[in-house]
Symmetry: C2
Subunit: 470 residues, 2 copies
């Protein structure tokens, strides 16, 4: 819990009993009747005893995904603990009660005259809190549960629409969810709102950002994704700044891009807005995990809301309507090249009806090409020829991530290119995969597909590569 | 050609005719007899005419892999051109001859009293030059062809053994080559040499560095790999500094590691020595493409040879012998997780007899785990269970590259871990793959394999992760 939120808790006056009942609603019937019998309410200082075991603390609500038979207490040392309920348990009230407020509804908080935006919640750590039973992180039950710690948000924008589309970790999000999100964004923006904020898990945020970039045709307003690397009840919660920055840009930013708003550094001072087709999670846990690759960030947003533009290629807000072009071919694959990588995987994909494969080659875009004669089964060239003969699209990117593929410099590159592999310039492998699904979804000719894949449609390919050192 | 080399060319006096003949030896019989008939020698300023086509320049040697019927000329503007020979061609000498020396043998150059080391050449850009017919890059025919531009090398070390093991692009190098290199290194080091330098292509240098790290048991001397991002006849040739730095460390450096010596920045001033299990090519073409990930570089080497140690975990030279433990299981695979990634690939690998798979998961080590019920075939959990039931080792790394996996924080991580997936801490995916092949090669029990994979054997796992900002 942030300092601000905890000081707000102390200032609040006591609330009606029915609010407390709502707070307890995630406990099981047995636990609830135990509380009612003993006249225990949320916030009460209680001591639970069972045989020789004794534990004391203030009673907290249980979260929606928590174990409903586990009683959560905030102890004096500040830590929360979970205690499994048992019918032989005894309870007594003693010590000072703390006030715990229910989550006010967002409509109660809205102020007038602020830029109207919409919010799409999909889950992820930004919408999570620690489960004090397991010590793990669980999804919050609603955006309200997050916003309770973010009163500043309601001084910046007015949330005209809130969609709780999913409560999913982003590792589980795929093209069907992208389609739903794209349709929702287009509807909201075309209804006259200034922009949209999307709360999303960080793991696959880059993939979703790329997918929305392609699906939202003629985008004329900001679509800003925000995630969190730390859960919302922790002091190091980064989602707050990421979300507020996203909301500010959605409300007033003059950028018609799908963007990702995440911390620039480990300090809680600035966010960078990365273009949706050039962004990648480059650290498992750091708050500044998201990097703009082969491009410039769109802008930097200070904690006080100051926006500094960085990219020389900014698309501005404009009139007109955005279209959700949601045609998508999911039968695609990405495969990484490494010493001993088995080229027959391409045959397997052909057999499975996969329409296109992105290779994550080495360096400038290599595959094993000319191994020694006695190891010739290691060459990818015959399998590439077979796959392309069968009508599969084979695109080349680099596992270096930074930089640009090249189809000419080395003999092995030329050999691969001459077999029909499409070299995808400086596109990220993940963006290339998502773009391929979208381009194949348009069902154009083979030639037109190749042309689209090597053309810059949404800022994913650059005539000159940037190397922005963050 | 570097400035130094070109000024050396001008200073040299004329050489005997037989040297020139050697230089021309890569031309075809027709071209050679055409030159002999017209008394043309390497370096002569000539004008070739064929019909109305005229081209002038100084005659250059042809490289071993070049087209033997293509005459290479250096033009006045500094560019080299290739002209296809035709029997109807005419030639006349006119203008100033330039002196082009033959490649002196390395033994001719050796000085006494310098640290004795060995050199293993495997190919790669560091051993390449431009082919002036195609504009592409081709392999040089011998280390001498590289060393001609690097007289400084012979003031630093004495090359007691030179092994031209391969002339391969590193994309074609795999475990059989690693084994040969490891055996050669062990033999050289145990014969009393101070260290070994390995010239290697950059694409898969990280994989080879990891493989040698595991194969060379009880390593007691420096093994330093050097590559080039630019070919050796270009002014921006980075291989020179990388190679000289590598030779200096092999000769005198007090480091008993397999290391990679590559440019620290785009300037030609310093190299960083990266530990072989923590290094990755992170740019397709920049000279400072190699980054040390989740660890500190061992040391920085200035162009003047000054060595500054950086890592707090340096293993020193010691007495004793190094052993080449070359047992290796090649039936392994690496597969990357992405939205819509097909978990049945694990079944395919099981069917193929693959013994272990490294997953490149998202974030802290996620796979699609709890997709919506109607898309449940997207979950990787059932396929993981089947693979592990069949005795396959399944290891988890992160496609973030930087940072550490975690098997506890989220419910989905715990679910994956509980199915038997081994979380591989902060190991790079590529290092984890190579390590898996080596660990499986030792043919230990399932439990012992898991223990070895999660133990730090060669600096590949760190109890605390480093974030060295280069």
């Amino acid at each position: 819990m942030t300092k601000k939120a905890s000081s707000r808790l102390k200032k609040k006056s006591s609330k009606a009993d029915n609010v407390r009942t709502v707070l307890l609603s995630n406990y099981s019937k047995d636990v609830l009747s135990f509380f009612q019998k003993n006249k225990i309410q949320v916030g009460d200082a209680i001591t639970l005893t069972e045989g020789i075991k004794i534990i004391s603390g203030n009673l907290l609500p249980q979260t929606e995904l928590g174990d409903s038979d586990t009683i959560v207490l905030k102890q004096k040392n500040g830590y929360n603990v979970g205690v499994k309920f048992s019918s032989s348990m005894k309870v007594r009230k003693e010590g000072e009660k703390v006030q715990i407020e229910n989550f006010p509804t967002i409509t109660q908080k809205q102020k007038k005259g602020l830029p109207p935006i919409s919010l799409i919640a999909t889950g992820g750590t930004i919408a999570s809190r620690i489960d004090y039973l397991t010590g793990g992180v669980v999804m919050a039950s609603s955006p309200e549960e997050i916003f309770v710690n973010l009163p500043e948000l309601f001084d910046e924008v007015s949330f005209k629409k809130i969609h709780q589309l999913y409560q999913m970790g982003s590792e589980d999000i795929s093209h069907k969810q992208w389609i739903e999100i794209a349709k929702t964004v287009a509807k909201d923006l075309n209804s006259g709102l200034n922009g949209t904020v999307i709360m999303h898990g960080t793991d696959m945020m880059g993939y979703t950002a790329a997918a929305l970039s392609f699906m939202l045709e003629d985008l004329n307003k900001p679509v800003v994704m925000a995630g969190g690397q730390r859960s919302s009840d922790r002091g190091s919660f980064d989602g707050a700044l990421n979300l507020i920055s996203a909301a500010r840009i959605a409300g007033k930013g003059d950028f018609a891009h799908v963007m990702v708003s995440m911390h620039e550094s480990s300090d809680d001072n600035t966010c960078l807005l990365s273009p949706g087709t050039n962004v990648r999670k480059m650290h498992t846990s750091r708050r500044d995990a998201f990097k703009t690759i082969n491009a410039h960030p769109i802008a930097r947003i200070d904690y006080d809301g100051t926006v500094t533009e960085i990219s020389p290629n900014i698309r501005r807000r404009s009139e007109g309507e955005v279209t959700a072009n949601i045609k998508y071919e999911p039968k695609i694959a990405l495969t990484k090249i490494y010493p001993g990588s088995d080229p027959e995987i391409l045959d397997w994909y052909v057999d499975k009806g996969v329409k296109g494969v992105i290779l994550e080659g080495t360096g400038l875009g290599h595959v094993p090409t000319f191994p020694p004669e006695e190891e010739k089964e290691r060459s990818w060239i015959p399998a590439i020829e077979r796959a392309i003969d069968q009508g599969m699209f084979v695109g080349m990117t680099s596992q270096c991530l930074y930089g640009r593929t090249n189809k000419f410099v080395y003999r092995a590159l030329r050999a691969t290119f001459q077999r029909g592999v499409t070299y995808l310039e400086d596109m990220l492998p993940e963006t290339a995969l998502v773009k391929l699904g979208w381009v194949l979804g348009q069902q154009k000719s083979e030639e037109e597909t190749k042309k689209m894949m090597t053309s810059n449609l949404r800022g994913e390919i650059h005539s000159k590569s940037y190397y922005f050192k963050e």
